[in-house]
Symmetry: C5
Subunit: 255 residues, 5 copies
């Protein structure tokens, strides 16, 4: 899947997007950390989880960035011309799955935590969402590393089952809880699920590309850019919206 | 645009200015972070954004610095003599646009936040300024990376439209809000817009240089120095003035 | 014991698991550190020790990761193919024992601290558990570095004596203290000991492998993966459960 | 000015002194940061500036240290024997001027801030001291990088004018303010100016060396050691005395 | 003194002990930093100094570790076999003296600070102990770097004079102050002096080795291990005991 060569502008595009993700995730975490005391204790669990999620993403993107830099090299003066795969260094896509395994369940914890539901309701949601999320990622992995389209297809379908279940819980079961949320955040929280749907949807689509015989350097660069944007939306933008919700609820509760 | 060779003193000048920016941005962020508790909660959002802006700039200048160090090499003993472009390493100007995409909208958020306006007024300003700022940077990028002066000129003009709009909002629409600010910061806030105008103006001018056929190592070194100074003024000095305003308003509100 | 060569997928598996442990330990520490103020002062000692344990593990896994990366190299383009041991670089297993020497006694301190027992009872437990834990690790080391199965067996048995003693103290003597714990954490604390037993049990089993003539690259990779999972359970998951206990007790005491 | 070769003991002396400065500046900053809450808010501005000054110095000494390590190399086994200038790497003295440009004005801000004068008096002192300090450093730079003793002498004299003015303000104008300080810090504050005079005096003297035809490896090593000690006194020791003053005043105000 | 070659197990022993010291010092500092708010303000000065001491030691051990890793190299596959001194890299023992110059006086400040004596009594102790400690280290240095056993002996004796004086002040003059300490820490504080005596004694003994004609790789490895253990006891263990004293006194004062 990894292309043998990249043009300089392809190389630069991936390079700059990976760096953009580092900056976005790192400084979202920093912003939330500094802002934490301005949130009521009741909502700090949600924001703490958001900080951890953006922190984990920062860590993995530092590794992905370094891996990319080592994996493609040019020999021409001024780094112009073609970049080809280096000797002894692989671009490690596996980092993404390691990241998802940790952060995807936490993204759901983040959402549930900001609702500040009764302890029982919260547990009931988490025991469904968290294992489903972990399962979804774990089932996708064998397909991702396989060269066989059959295997890829099979595990893609298996992984889609927990994915569908998560969406079901979010859109059907969670709706009841949303009704008990303060009026001025209900809309935001409802929309947040669509943002989640939209950004999470990028990952199974990217997974499909090889099945659709879409390959080559351009497709690969597109996939990296797509992942980068989806990761910023699904983690950093998502965290900032959750922060906004927590702020508004903090004001309300205080009054 | 990147010169093939730099004299040692040209190399040293760029090198030392890039390092100066790192120190200035990093320690402005540190200063603001330590000083945050001495500001009333109402103004902490502004200062938190300022810390994030200087932090993001620090991150990018570390990358720019390392990129510069790798991109130009000398082979003479003691690093004297000419520095030429290295094999396999490019000086990455793209970092600047990534930085601007994140920080330029935030600089406007910072300014609006320190005014502590009514929530409605604040929203109205931000939904205009933030997208315009992002658009301005995004439209400049295709021109920046193009070798064709026509393309550069076209996108420069397109990018100037949101730029003009930002200035319009700042100088016409914001004026009304300024009148409601306490007397002892009104002057400072008014002047801050001129400092903004002055420092932001550097970037479109630097963008024009190739159109004016100004090129060569000296022009390039001048551009790097100009960027460095403009970045310190537009982020660090700007942040310190906003901090000063927040301090004075904190005292007033407290009394 | 260290295999001469690893296939690319063996290399990647170890690589990604080591990185997973770094992320898990580091961000468990970060999470606990941010959450510390939401715990009553009485239980902060336990959480502080948990932070230190995960911090020490992070430090050692960074070293282990770098050591692994240096120790196995591939020469083929794109890092595909076989990875063989590098010249002049050894994969250092010794880090694990250094880590255990510091963290294993602290894991017991963590458990005792969250019980918030009377000072006397606490001391009585710690003067037994801490030296036993240190002794257990110290006695295992000479067997680990020996190539002689007799030596390995002997020190394995010697090390098992303090291990058995620790389990005796935890399961027999600690039971009495558990009865005085609030009802809603008693179950969790009881189960925590089984989680401890289960995860700690991995280490002596891994120690046995050479005695059972189980060797080769696959066994070695399995051992690294086993260590990684056991370390996450024994430190990070364990810490999060202790945090949960401390949270519940903080609520109860507050009420 | 930079010697072609250094003996091993000359190399080690510079090396260890540079590292000493890093440790001294970094941990003075850490000490002050941890101790900040024990100071009354009124004096925290002074200590915050002190932290920033020691932080900036730490940053620059890390760079100077790395630059030195790269610039001189030995080829003999065990690093014994002569160290000569490396190919393609220069020892960058320019960092010092960048450091001074930022820190020397801040050192004066630090002193004025701990006096906690009326806002007007404070402004009057700062608008004199800060620009004079920046001018002093800026005027010294062209002389420092020139190979021509005439140029060096000329800019040395120009730079001495603001230097003399700073001393005049400190010793004549500041005296009046000192009289209003609490009795138990008046002596310390008076002496602090002599410590300042003594440590700052090192820099113009070092600047004179080439004019006095004092050159060679020994003189150069002496200069580096002199700078190192002066930097520790002028920043770290100075900061600790200012901290002591702030502590005593905090006690007094509190009583 | 530095051996030409080390066996792999000698190399690994030094390597792992140096890393152990890093982990021990760093996480003692982290533990104390997190625990600081649980100490009464009156005793925070002592703990802050302890943090700084362990921090400085961490810094120096990172440097010593890196220096060791660069200084000894093996060329065999898997890093087995003999390690010999590298070309162009020296193992820098000088770091130890730089470390002691800063930390040994601070260790005495730490002890005096936890006693929370009257300001006068405290000053009287510090003006004796601190300069004596600095003198002791400074006088030892010329002997350490000399190849001449006569010089080594002479400076060893000179350095022993302030050492004896420190012990005199600690064991004779400090005793009176100990009587005024609360009963439940008096014993611990008394014993702490013996721990100090025991750990500090390691350094002059290691200094004697060359005079006793004890040399070779084994003696050298033993010295590094001895230094490592002594450093952990004299700084980290010592700090934890001082923390324990401060905790008990905080409880007492609070009651
Ligand atoms: C359904 C499905 C998948 C879903 C992946 C998802 C939903 C990933 C979400 C990642 C996020 C949210 C990352 C945030 O940064 C896989 C595993 C690709 C395999 C194919 C089927
Ligand atoms: C109008 C215009 C531009 C404006 C750039 C600006 C205004 C950048 C501001 C950057 C700042 C404030 C950075 C702070 O560090 C471009 C994109 C060069 C393209 C040409 C037209
Ligand atoms: C009984 C026994 C052993 C026990 C090791 C244990 C119990 C290690 C626990 C490590 C933990 C908990 C690490 C956490 O990250 C050894 C030394 C292998 C030697 C063989 C006998
Ligand atoms: C008068 C004079 C100079 C003064 C330099 C000074 C006073 C520097 C102070 C630096 C400090 C205080 C650094 C702290 O770390 C120069 C520029 C050498 C040029 C020659 C004339
Ligand atoms: C008496 C004497 C010495 C004493 C050294 C000491 C007492 C060092 C203490 C170091 C500590 C406490 C380090 C902590 O990490 C020297 C200088 C070796 C020289 C020979 C005579
Ligand atoms: Na590359
Ligand atoms: Na991701
Ligand atoms: Na270079
Ligand atoms: Na910029
Ligand atoms: Na490798
Ligand atoms: Na471990
Ligand atoms: Na060198
Ligand atoms: Na300096
Ligand atoms: Na080595
Ligand atoms: Na030491």
């Amino acid at each position: 899947m990894i292309p043998d060569t990249l043009s300089q502008s392809q190389f630069d595009t991936v390079y700059n997007f990976l760096s953009l993700v580092i900056a976005a995730q790192l400084f979202t975490a920093v912003f939330l950390l500094i802002s934490l005391p301005r949130i009521l204790p009741r909502y700090r669990q949600a924001i703490t989880v958001a900080i951890v999620v953006c922190g984990i993403a920062t860590y993995h993107y530092f590794r992905i960035f370094d891996s990319f830099k080592e994996a493609f090299v040019s020999e021409s003066v001024g780094g112009t011309g073609t970049y080809s795969q280096a000797e002894g260094a692989a671009f490690n896509e596996g980092y993404r799955y390691v990241d998802w395994l940790l952060t995807v369940p936490l993204l759901l914890v983040e959402l549930v935590a900001v609702l500040a539901l009764a302890r029982k309701v919260q547990s009931r949601l988490l025991v469904r969402l968290v294992p489903a999320a972990a399962l979804m990622i774990a089932l996708g992995y064998p397909g991702e590393i396989s060269d066989d389209n059959g295997v890829r297809g099979l595990f893609g379908i298996l992984s889609t089952i927990p994915f569908a279940y998560i969406l079901f819980v979010l859109f059907v079961q969670l709706s009841k809880s949303l009704e008990n949320q303060p009026a001025n955040v209900r809309g935001t929280l409802g929309n947040l699920r669509y943002l989640l749907l939209l950004s999470w949807g990028v990952y199974p689509i990217a997974y499909l590309l090889p099945l659709l015989d879409i390959a080559g350097a351009d497709a690969w660069v597109g996939k990296q850019v797509g992942y980068s944007i989806a990761d910023i939306v699904a983690k950093a933008v998502y965290a900032l919206i959750i922060f906004q919700v927590a702020r508004i609820k903090s004001f309300d509760d205080d009054a």
